[in-house]
Symmetry: C2
Subunit: 324 residues, 2 copies
């Protein structure tokens, strides 16, 4: 099955979530509304709402309840992108101007604050304090992750563990709680929600590793931005950490990273990309992503064999082969 087929099946429900997303940011303030809408219209795969919906299929599926989780989780993702773009000085995302470049950093900061607050306010319409707790705890972890990212810019001494904790906070955690909270909002058993959390977590780890691989190996056409954007801003990803472990490659690679840092990323990085692409860092990172996909699929063992389970497996395979 292709991912598009899955989306076709969920289309009616996703459309409703999409409408609710628009309604949620319909604020009586011109710049705030435009900035938020701009962000919403820039699109995205809406993978978090999809995970919520599929997670909810393991309980008493009720879109009227579940939307109070699906909408906030996508809003949190959107808000973190706006704040990310401020940090990265990013001018475009997915081929669209960013909020900070279309307006300015101040608007981007407050638009992000507004969307974060809105997310938390919407979820409180469900009278289940444990859902509020899980969501706000995830936000705390995510914000620590953002700071960690800055701290590790151009830090060649970082370990595989540093990287893993960072992508957990940056990506995997929100996907994990998307599956989990969908299940909890639908009243699924705790054990089911826990397995779904694991599925989302492992899939998220694989997703981010593949994303980081794409930044190094993809073409500008495939990834919608020039390859090597990560290293230009100082973000050292897992293929690079693995490549640095090779004693033959290490000295030249360190020198090249220092040079890029000294130029503040404003330099030709083709030598760096060639070194990484020819290193075993690529295959080792690919293997790591595959392992996570296997773990994700194994997390679902023991869950009832409903259609949603097959859909989650399809998504995991799709993420594992990701080249978009």
């Amino acid at each position: 099955m292709k991912l598009l087929d899955l989306y076709a099946k969920l289309k009616k429900d996703i459309n409703l979530i999409e409408k609710e997303l628009e309604r949620s940011i319909d604020v009586n303030h011109p710049v705030l509304r435009e900035a938020s809408l701009h962000l919403l219209k820039a699109g995205g795969k809406r993978i978090r709402p999809v995970f919520v919906l599929l997670g909810a299929k393991f309980g008493q599926y009720d879109l009227g309840r579940v939307k109070f989780v699906a909408v906030p989780l996508e809003l949190i993702h959107m808000a973190s992108l706006v704040h990310d773009d401020v940090i990265d000085d990013a001018n475009t995302r997915r081929g669209q101007l960013t909020v900070r470049s279309k307006w300015d950093n101040r608007v981007a900061m407050y638009a992000g604050d507004y969307i974060f607050a809105k997310a938390l306010s919407i979820v409180t319409q469900l009278p289940d304090p444990s859902i509020h707790r899980i969501m706000s705890n995830a936000l705390v972890e995510m914000s620590i992750g953002e700071m960690e990212q800055i701290r590790f810019f151009f830090h060649t001494g970082q370990t595989v563990r540093d990287y893993m904790l960072r992508i957990k906070r940056k990506t995997a955690l929100l996907l994990a709680i998307s599956c989990q909270l969908g299940a909890i909002a639908a009243g699924a058993p705790e054990q089911t929600a826990k397995r779904l959390y694991d599925f989302g977590y492992y899939t998220g780890m694989a997703f981010q590793i593949r994303d980081d691989l794409l930044d190094l190996c993809g073409t500008e056409k495939e990834i919608g931005k020039p390859p090597g954007s990560d290293i230009k801003q100082g973000n050292i990803t897992i293929p690079v950490i693995f490549a640095l472990q090779n004693p033959q490659l290490r000295p030249a690679l360190l020198e090249e990273i220092s040079r890029i840092e000294a130029c503040d990323g404003q330099t030709d990085i083709s030598a760096f990309l060639n070194m990484i692409r020819r290193s075993e860092g690529i295959s080792r990172a690919e293997a790591m992503a595959s392992t996570y996909i296997d773990k994700a699929i194994r997390s679902l063992e023991g869950l009832p064999n409903i259609q949603a389970k097959k859909d989650l497996v399809s998504i995991a395979h799709f993420v594992g082969n990701r080249s978009y």
Copy 2:
């Protein structure tokens, strides 16, 4: 009674809140912890926790519960200050370096995000969804208020109503819910919580008006920064709005504001300050603040005559005469 006497009576409880505040930001990340601690140590009157504690005296006072409201409300205030300083390019606050000036804007943005998230995560330790709802809704309003502030910079066409809505979102709302949530967390009757909300709201409005008056009429020594900081950054406050209503004064004042705007605030503003100080804008704003204080005190009518009620009246009078 003086405000200090009141604080002396609550000292033990405030000290515990202070310790909890420190503990709440004890995160395993050097810059994040230092930045948050720096902010915490910069002090402040802790008026929000005081309002929470006094509000809780109208119910079953239990510090072990009430702290889960008092700590988040002070954290929200702190986080909004850090984000404010980014917008204002502020280098000092209360005579201390701001986070954005000691580190940078990126650290300030993420430290603010972290503290906001932490606040919401702490409050979810109380299993009362209505408390979560009130707090997150207030955050939404506050973030709209922040954007409104930017929108109205140097906007001489703004009305008294625009100003009032702005200071409600900026200041009064958080003080209102501090009183209200203290009462709710202590299980006080709904009507009591409502009256306390009104008290906090009116006191907050008066507080901000007096703050705005001080910026125009105080000395650098009194207010810890040069007078006229508001107009330098484009913030047009109520004495100025009133002064602009005087047809004799209006043309010269408009011209002076345009000139300050054209210089991006980097200019001598003594002519502006003299115009405002000699205008009826000052006395009209003072009268407005007094009216709010009267309303605040009247809101408490009907509440039991406990010590906390007298303390709230003292605070209201203190705010009314504020010159610090």
